[in-house]
Amino acid sequence: MIIDAQTLVKTYELGGSTVRALDGISFQIDAGEMVAITGPSGSGKSTLMHILGCLDQPDSGAYFLAGENVAGLSRDRLAETRNRRIGFVFQTFNLLPRMSALENVELPLLYAGNHNATEPAIEALRTVGLEERMRHEPNQLSGGQRQRVAVARAIVTDPAIILADEPTGNLDSKTGEEIMALFFSLNAQGRTIILVTHELSIAKRCPRRIHLYDGRIVEN
């Protein structure tokens, strides 16, 4: 079991009223699974993604990631956990400007204090099929290529989970299809992948779906 979430609760103050974004959610994900988290906007899926991605802390409940309880870790320890255990893929790619594809992929390793970052970064770019474009900067790459670089950056530290937030949202259907194919092949290699999406067509192709509504799991 790679993820064990136990009665996660998260509330927000919004304009004087309290919003329960997560209302006691519990679920488990095993290593090697490919899970889609779906739900309409406001259902709490972004909040859940933030907590799963160690960007945020739950108000109550426990979250075990690869056996370690993440709740209550300091800012620095959370940053380390994100660095080692989680690979992020965002809707808007979020590559760093003015840095080559290779440098972007190297960065997580450098933050981990790993000084031999170049070899693994090239290897990750080879996995996503962008080895020959590694010297290009993001603004010289197409959307699909940028998302491939982002995937390479996510897998370069060999994390426990890959967390993808609407990874095809900013791509046309053909390149979106290519990125999905990339995720399936990564899953076939044994990587755990969590896809956050509101597109049913994508969610339906995942072996397992968690559907959220009003901060609760309505389908698992």
Binding site: D76, N94, L95, L96, R98, Y111
Partner: protein
Amino acid sequence: MYLVIIIKVALKSLYANKLRSFLAVLGVIIGVGAVIAMLSIGAGARQDVVGRLQSLGTDLLMIRPGQRGFGGVMTGTHQNLKKEDAEAILKDVPNVLAVSPVVQNKAQVKYYERNSAVTVLGAAGTYFSARNFEIERGRGFTDGEVEGMARVAVIGPTTCENLMGQDDPVNAVIKVKGINFKVIGVTKSKGDQGWFNPDDQVIVPYTTAMRQLFGMDRLSEIDVQGRPGADLTAIQDDITSLLRQRHRLQEDTDNDFNIGNQAEILATLSSVTRALTILLGSIGSISLIVGGIGIMNIMLVTVTERTREIGVRKAIGAKDRDILRQFLFEAIFMSCLGGLIGVGMGISVAKLIGAATQFTTSIQPQSVLMAMSFAAAVGIFFGYYPARRAARLNPIDALRYE
């Protein structure tokens, strides 16, 4: 490798906003330049003043007659310094190297058809060394010439040029108040001192001046040169008590002479110019601080602009201190770059001022070093707050920032 990335990112981000970065750096350039230029003016003024004073002799006490009067009403100058006073000082006061009686008056000096009204100074042979006069051509007078009331004269370079033009002055004969004097030497130029010009005078043995030229039996001044390293103030005290005794002054009467202490004047003037240097330096430092505020302003804008980038970096595992380092480095880099350019500018401005105006400038290596380290300190100080703000950003808010 990590450092290489930090430097690379910093350079690229500064380069991407060339004009903005340049304007921020400009503040530091002007600040550092101003500090260096100002300090060089201050140091130059100090060297100038000290140099001029030293050319007059620093181990020198000048005894002049005091003012004469009654009940606070001053009516004239005492005529009470005698040749015997000078001899007594040399004999009785310890640590006195040389004593030169001086008499002084204005007189007309003639050389063939040319004439000039100059200061005629009667002095002893020791006067030249005590007052740091160098003899450029010829020689000074001997003790024998002073004893024998010889009609010999040492003239200043300005006087020499005015009277003789291109003629060889040594062994020429000039007339002082109608009496023939043989020119035996010319002093080396010291430059006009403002209140008098040591280059435009005729120096003759004081004995000759007193008896043959002016008919005076009192001295205008006694110059006392202390031994090297001797305490001038102690000598001054000894001379004071000796002269009071010789002039038979009562306990409650004031001195009828004044003693000028060159070392004291030097100390006062150099402390004045030091204060001037500090003042100028502080004005420069203020502009450096203003420059630092400019950097801080730009860094705050940069942090806001790159909020999303900060969010991404945090998401992939950057710790607070990684972000802090990145932005702090950019601020320090800007201020150090500004510092370097400012050093170049400050030195050129100082040289320009020195060449184009009457100010003397002197570039001190320590002030360059000080300005540079101050610039770096400004970078750290004013860069820290924006960098810390970047480091403390919440990753979710930063990632969502549009």
